[in-house]
Symmetry: C2
Subunit: 438 residues, 2 copies
């Protein structure tokens, strides 16, 4: 006998079982509906790329997490670790075939060899939407509106989008003659929620001294509302500048759309990543800030600098699919999921053709319908239907065949409708299924 | 200045541009609709698995094509090269959480380092649907019906499904005392379309001598219809056996569903792969047999033997996504694809908020609507709309704002509807879009 291989999965990787996969597909479908309703188009890029194309001059913290290897042709290749670098590469490669402003979305898997002890996965989905080729406030507004619309489409309520503008902070740092420390300061502020104000204060004091540290803490401390916070920022920057003007335009548009309450101006938002140049934002679910941001991003005005000297501005947002799924799963678990609407039981092998013919009739009404493929004991077939949460059942035996009828079973209410004519039976199935779905 | 990296893609890999990606997503959506209407559920598995789990004892021709490497933890890992091996592994891993008969589908990317000179890609989609855990003729029938329904859903006409049964051929080989040469004989017959009858004759003669070669050529030569071919096979096998009985049951059910014309009993169909044990099938488009089979598969009655001693029977089919896309593209290219239904042009930056508010109103009618994000020259904005094949346009200037109206442009018929009230304008947009889509 051959040796059996243990069917084990790599650490940090997961199978997706039907219930999970259905939920994920529904989520993607909802998001894609929103994205295309805004005129965004989908793209895809290869899972494998040349290592130097993905990692550039390399050497950073990310690189250690990337799956890199030599392929059979001795090329250095890597699996993509995000969808932003491939977007930049895609744009540089396809520049002449792309229509700008380019509004695209991309939902796909990425891979990172992260430390699984922190509960991270090594294979996960990213979902990004971006407007590339426009530096206008209008593009900022569109992305902000899409963020709200996307989360609402997923049935998420009680979220707030916290936004800020790196340009304003940088202006402020310049006035206070600490612009050269910008990167470190941004990174320290970004840790505020994680390490707390005291620790941030300590780190800033060490870096730039107490007086400037206090100025920054004042700067990032939000006022009670958007306008007041913006006013303070303007004052601290010695008057308006192009970035504060832009925030005014953005906020005015949000108000005109009656959705301003979803947005909070919060100067503590900086985003860790280097490539953001203007607006930055994060989204937290009410009462679930520990989950982290579920939808983040910002404006980057030099996206494809690795591949082209042309300056290409853009703004984009990325949905934390795994975080949202885990937040939504808690809700959804209350309700059992029907994996099929209707099942035709098998009690007579001679009738197989008729069972499939009847199933085809039922499907015409938009009802998913499966045929149990074996003439097993009925209680086995019922148990199968119950585990799949199928609400409607059909029995067709010799009697039904001879009289041109079917027997319909309401598997939830446990009621039978014996030997009714086929069209009435199908109507009955439709109403049973509709009842469950309502 | 930093050195620019050439944004090149690996040979055998492709970007998917919006038009292609939309077409592909539409295709997957249609297929998923069919699969779930039959009560099939989706699963997913990791892109990376342990090499020995994917390749088993290894050493075959496939292995050289697999992307294998050592990960950062020095584990031997491989990228999946099909969806059948992962299905077997999935079933062995999740046995206790799976409900049998397990009807699942899986649409995902796989990777093979194939020779790109033959026009093959190294990254491509597979789309499989299987019934695992049942050896009944009913399961065979269901898969055959789903094949037809899937292709019809994609708008494909004029296809035929060619089927055969390996069990019958093996029976025949046994009677003729050449059962031990079964694998070689199957492989030679499988090449018939590619190398022609003369060459097959030559190879068979060499293997088993002229008289037995002629018997096989007689066996695989189809009669004018299903019943006559089956009768001949029964005669050549010295009477009925369980496999010929099964074919009778299958054909009877197809006839009872009025779809028997789509199916051809063709004993030349053998499928190259070793794991098939019963029914095998391939699908060719009328007048396009050169494209190869677009939908193939068969019954395997020992799927997970690499991972478990339990015998798990199943039957499945795999859609040749790339082949179908190339066949459908020829059709689709006739018709330009609208990447969005409606565009709101930008002629006044002060009105941005109103543009997004109007866009939201339009979307409520199921019309996708984008806002041009910059106040550029109108002819530039028109050119953008034309390249995206957008049929309806909206202009909102100060006049429109003050009078609570919009100007609607039929961009196909080049007609304007100036300053009409918003609700009438939206109705106009709906009718322009409906016209184009009809």
């Amino acid at each position: 006998m051959d040796k059996i291989i243990e069917p084990k999965i790599l650490k940090g990787f997961r199978d997706s079982l039907p219930e999970q996969e259905i939920r994920k597909k529904k989520m993607f479908k909802d998001l894609e509906e929103v994205f295309s309703s805004f005129g965004f188009v989908p793209i895809d890029t290869p899972a494998l790329e040349y290592t130097d194309v993905l990692l550039g001059k390399g050497g950073g913290e990310t690189d250690k997490q990337v799956y890199s290897f030599k392929d059979n042709g001795e090329r250095d290749v890597s699996m993509r670790f995000d969808l932003t670098v491939p977007l930049a590469r895609f744009i540089a490669t396809n520049k002449s075939n792309i229509l700008f402003p380019f509004k695209r979305y991309h939902i796909s898997k990425v891979w990172r060899g992260e430390n699984t002890q922190r509960g991270r996965y090594r294979e996960f989905y990213q979902c990004d939407f971006d407007i590339v080729g426009s530096d206008s406030p209008s593009a900022d507004i569109e992305i902000l509106i899409m963020m709200k619309t996307s989360l609402e489409k997923l049935g998420i309520t009680g979220f707030k989008i916290y936004l800020s503008n790196r340009g304003i902070l940088n202006k402020f740092l310049k006035i206070n003659e600490i612009r050269d420390k910008s990167a470190e300061i941004l990174r320290i502020i970004d840790k505020l929620t994680k390490i707390g104000e005291e620790k941030v204060k300590e780190l800033l004091k060490e870096l730039i001294g107490e007086s400037k540290c206090n100025k920054i803490l004042d700067f990032i401390n939000p006022e009670p509302d958007f306008d007041k916070t913006l006013d303070k920022l303007i004052t601290l920057c010695n008057g308006d500048n192009s970035e504060t003007e832009r925030l005014k335009v953005i906020y005015k548009a949000l108000k005109e759309n009656g959705i301003e309450d979803y947005y909070v101006l919060d100067p503590t938002i900086t985003r860790g990543l280097d490539y953001y140049t203007g607006l930055v934002f994060e989204t937290f679910l009410a009462g679930n800030r520990d989950l982290g941001s579920v939808l983040s991003g910002g404006r980057y005005n030099n996206l494809a600098s690795l591949y082209t000297n042309e300056q290409i501005p853009g703004i984009g947002a990325s949905i934390g699919i795994d975080r949202l799924i885990s937040a939504l799963e808690k809700e959804d678990n209350k309700k059992p999921q029907a994996l099929c609407d209707c099942i035709i039981f098998n009690i007579d092998d001679d009738l197989t053709g008729l069972l499939y013919k009847t199933a085809a009739e039922i499907r015409k009404k938009g009802i998913s319908c499966e045929v149990y493929p074996e003439n097993k004991k009925l209680n086995k077939q019922f148990a199968y239907a119950e585990k799949k949460n199928i609400p409607a059942g059909v029995i067709i035996g010799k009697d039904e065949k001879d009289t041109g009828t079917i027997t319909v079973k309401d598997l939830i209410a446990r009621k039978n409708y014996e030997k009714i004519n086929i069209q009435d039976g199908i109507e009955k199935i439709v109403s049973i299924v509709r009842e469950v779905k309502s």
